[in-house]
């Protein structure tokens, strides 16, 4: 039992680190597109890692299934919304950041 707990803790903390990375990206990156990139990818990976950790502690397969469903939905919605926002931003002429 202890090994499962340790593994779960590692996964959860890794997920939290990715969330932090996503927020840092949101705050520090120079334009909308890079921020979108940081947010969508880092947050979804962070959520996935946290789900994996929670799935290890789940009581039944039904719970694991529900967690998986939620993660897949967040992925789908996040990716689609990121695409919509980015293409909308391009259409409205928000310029890409060039160094």
């Amino acid at each position: 039992m202890m090994l499962v707990d340790v593994l779960c803790a590692v996964l959860l903390i890794a997920g939290a680190v990715f969330f932090l990375a996503g927020t840092l990206g949101l705050l520090r990156f120079p334009d909308v597109y890079t921020r979108l990139h940081a947010l969508t990818k880092a947050d979804n990976v962070g959520l996935g890692l946290m789900m994996a950790g929670l799935a290890l502690q789940a009581g039944s397969w039904a719970v694991v299934g529900k967690l998986l469903l939620i993660w897949l939905l967040v992925l789908l919605a996040g990716a689609s919304v990121a695409h919509l926002v980015a293409s909308g931003a391009l259409k409205r002429g928000i310029r890409l950041w060039k160094r």
Binding site: T23, L47, L67, I70, A77
Partner: protein, 91 residues
Amino acid sequence: MQTLYLALAVFLLLNLGAGMWRVLRGPSAADRMLAAQLFGTTAVAILLLLAQAHGNAALRDVALLFALLAAVTAVAFVRRAWEQGASDDAG
């Protein structure tokens, strides 16, 4: 384990607070909407952590709802506030 769940929940809430800065700063409307997406995903994570910490399975349903409805709000932004706003100005 309980302590870890709650500690991470507090951490995520602080994360959310940090993201608030982008809502206030973000030069364009898209930036503000991005921050709203952050809130949605973070809230899903917090709810799942709380569901495990308190053993309350209903909170997973709330997380499912969050995930679905954050998408609807973002699509409403892109299709209404953005596109129609622009066409109204042009037309």
